[in-house]
Amino acid sequence: MSHLVEYLKVTRRCRFCPMCRHACTIGSITCNELNMPRGKGLLGYAVTEELIPLEGSTAKAFYECCQCGLCEEWCVTHYNLPGAILAARADCVEKGSEPKVVKEIAQRVLNNNSLYETKGQSRTGQFSESAPVGLEMASVVLFLGCGAAFADHASADAVFKALNKSEVGYTLLEDEKCCGAPLYNLGYRSEALTLAKANFENLRKAGCKVLVSPCPECVKSFKIDYAQWGLQESKGFEILHISEFILKLMAKGSLKLDKPVDMTIAYHDNCHMSRGLGICDEPRDLLDRIHGIKRVELEWTQEHSHCCGAGGGVQFVSPDTAKIASRKILEEAQSLGVEAIVTASVNCKHHMLSAKTPEDTVEVLHIMEVFARAM
């Protein structure tokens, strides 16, 4: 027992340190010391030393974190407190003390192969644009992710439109699985690894040379996390976010933009994209190539961006708090006078849209939707 004990050095260091608290997305909203990195470090330490049992409110506290990683980024020593929190969650699951809603969400992923409600739809159907499915030996595999597959078809259609126009040979997988990150983040490590193995096997069968996804969390899973979860096999294929791939196509001359998009936008950095993968410039570069786009920066931006609340399971455990995280971004965007908040994440878009009210004037768009308007 105890994944958390492996992080004793981290929890000992963080338990009394207030130096990153201003950056904490969730703590800044709830104002609760328990939700601050220091509170999590303290709790992690107390649990590790068996001073407080990992159950009830203590167990739930570890899920009141969006895993944005901004505490780790801000720390001059980069202590991996988000990792300690994930370890505590894995311990919760092994003890069976994770909150009820966490169990329900995990069951949904396992039953439906999706973080989102599927409403009986298949992972590759119901889109307006056509996309090839299950092509053999297509070197480029478009890995949709749960969000584009079920929650936000507009993003998926925009991706299809761009790829279809480029005439690059690509395919969707016939049997795409959830990347597993949602399960891993909730503490279900062996179940996440099973999905990772299945995805990996499917990609190998498909002859994948380049994996492309509009979901930063999926990209990060393939690129970084699977190895940490214990998937030791060499990947043998390139892994790119769709914005990186589109830039490559444009550089080759395979994709050109025809129309101006006269719009003032703010780009919201997804946490996995900016801090996880270090991709901050490419999406901005892509947007700057679109004629008519005027781009402004949010206050918390690039590797210091705040989470929109869609991450780490906090959207399920503390939905009101998660919604406020999005509201803060939407309200800041509107105060800057922008017409659209643009993100490279389907999940961020979906979550921010859920926080929008009829009074909000700002659009929320996936970066590929903006791109598609320029084609």
Binding site: R12, R13, C14, R15, F16, C17, P18, M19, C20, R21, H22, A23, S28, C31, N32, E33, L34, M36, R38, G39, L42, L43, Y45, A46, E49, L51, I52, G56, S57, T58, K60, A61, C75, V76, T77, Y79, E299, D320
Partner: protein, 483 residues
């Protein structure tokens, strides 16, 4: 407090602020059982959970705070105002249980006066957030304590805090213009709108430094400054501390206004400066900084650098100085910051120029000799300079303290007692900018003499039931007696 009583308390508070802003779970209580007081850390490290609050409440308005205080006062329940919990003397610890009144939802900047250069803000605002809000208008509070990212405006004021640039911009008590305070019976006290007057005693300064023992500071009007046209730093190396101290003194007496004179003694120069800045220096290392209009900075640098040169300061250039500014907070992140398993303390003080060097030397000699068997290390830097004297930020460190927590605490407290009494001997004070809390309260009567009777009378008049942050600042803990 019994479980039934605790539930009743939660119910009353929930009716005032809403149930989502009242928590009394074990995990929440644990998070509010600590600040940066080393002794509390020690006991946890040795496997002991500390006393915790009965409930934590997050009010959003002055009206809610009024209702909470009225209720608590009637029921004689302790109320501990809480900002960022970065106090190092135990000022926010709920030693008699009660209500933690977390003020962080009172985080609005209510007015920025661009004509007068003032800001009105609720006091729960995070220091970094307040500074960011001002920066958008080309202004700065210029208060850069190490705790800026964790502390709140209310904490700055309640502890008479100081920031890195205090030599020019002043401590929190010099920045504040007026306050709004909720008193224990629920009344609202607003101090005079300007800090300089001949209209009677100054109530603002009564509440600054009161550490939550007299009421709840809910809003403050602060003087602010324009962001400087330029701000730059030079570093110098002196052969010994005395030469460097003389340079600092003469700079201050010349009445130019450096934003920073930060002088490390020989031991700090070796241990701390190298650890964070990667500089190997032998001697006394000084950062000297100026900011403001370019022409003024150039003139002040000219005068300041000449004084340094005359006292033998070797000019190490601006690169190291700028690097220090860029990394000024790095010193306070783990592992650079002193922390367990080490025992450490910062018995900082301030006194006049004529006594500071003797104070430093005696404290250094006594502590290192008396505690030689514990390999006590004592070092200091001098970082907040006044027209008449300088603050000494000294630290003691024992890398291998006793494992037994009682023995360790006794040793810790004895070192503090020795250190602080030497400060008093040289007309220093118990503390310069970390406050009193529970750590130094017992010495308050000794420091103030008969003046402490006056403080007690004020405390009794404002808070007759003693509900406000009991056990702090040396005031008798009436709640503890009742229990």
């Amino acid at each position: 407090m019994s479980g039934k009583r605790s539930k009743e308390l939660t119910k009353v508070l929930s009716d005032i602020v809403g149930p989502q802003f009242v928590r009394s779970d074990d995990a929440d209580k644990l998070a509010y059982s600590f600040d940066l007081y080393w002794v509390r850390h020690l006991w946890l490290d040795r496997g002991h959970l500390p006393p915790n609050p009965d409930v934590i409440v997050w009010p959003e308005s002055v009206e809610e705070i009024q209702q909470i205080l009225k209720f608590a006062n009637e029921e004689c329940i302790p109320v501990i105002p809480y900002g960022g919990g970065t106090a190092s003397q135990g000022a926010t610890l709920p030693i008699s249980g009660g209500i933690i009144l977390d003020l962080k939802r009172l985080n609005k900047v209510t007015e920025i006066d661009l004509k007068s250069y003032t800001v009105n803000s609720q006091t729960g605002i995070n220091g970094f957030d307040l500074e960011s809000a001002l920066n958008k208008h080309g202004l700065t509070l210029a208060h850069y304590p190490a705790s800026q990212r964790g502390a709140t405006l209310g904490g700055y004021l309640a502890a008479r805090g100081s920031g890195t640039l205090s030599t020019k911009y002043g401590k929190a008590e010099e920045m504040v213009m007026s306050l709004e305070i909720v008193l224990p019976q629920g009344k609202i006290l607003k101090t005079l709108p300007v800090p300089h007057h001949a209209s009677g005693p100054d109530l603002t300064q009564l509440f600054v430094g009161s550490e939550g023992t007299l009421g709840v500071i809910t809003e403050a009007k602060m003087r602010v400054d324009p962001l400087p046209e330029i701000r730059r730093f030079h570093s110098f190396l002196f052969r010994d501390l005395h030469s460097a101290m003389e340079a600092g003194r003469k700079i201050m007496l010349s009445r130019i206004k450096p934003c920073v004179i930060r002088l490390y003694d020989e031991i700090s120069s070796t241990r701390v400066v190298e650890s964070v800045l990667g500089l190997k220096v032998k001697g006394a290392y000084m950062i000297l900084g100026f900011d403001g209009p370019r022409k003024l900075v150039e003139a002040e640098e000219s005068i300041g650098f000449q004084i340094v040169k005359e006292l033998g300061g070797e000019d190490l250039g601006s690169k190291a100085g700028e690097r220090w500014w860029e990394h000024r907070y790095d010193f306070y992140f783990p592992p650079h910051m002193f922390a367990l398993p080490w025992m450490h303390g910062t018995p900082d003080t301030v006194t006049t120029f004529d006594k500071i060097e003797d104070l430093y030397q005696e404290k250094h000699d006594v502590l290192t000799e008396k505690y030689a068997s514990w390999d006590l290390i004592h070092h200091a830097h001098f970082s907040h300079w006044f027209p008449w004297g300088v603050m000494m930020y000294d630290r003691f460190v024992i890398e291998d303290p006793p494992q037994d927590p009682e023995e360790a605490q006794a040793l810790h407290d004895q070192i503090w007692d020795d250190a602080v009494r030497i400060s008093l001997k040289y007309n220093g004070v118990l503390n310069e900018h970390h406050g009193i809390g529970i750590k130094l309260g017992y010495l308050m009567p000794e420091q103030y003499g008969d003046g402490f009777e006056a403080l007690l009378a004020i405390k009794d008049a404002l808070d007759p039931n003693g509900i406000m942050n009991p056990g702090k600042l040396g005031f008798p803990n009436k709640i503890m007696k009742k229990e």
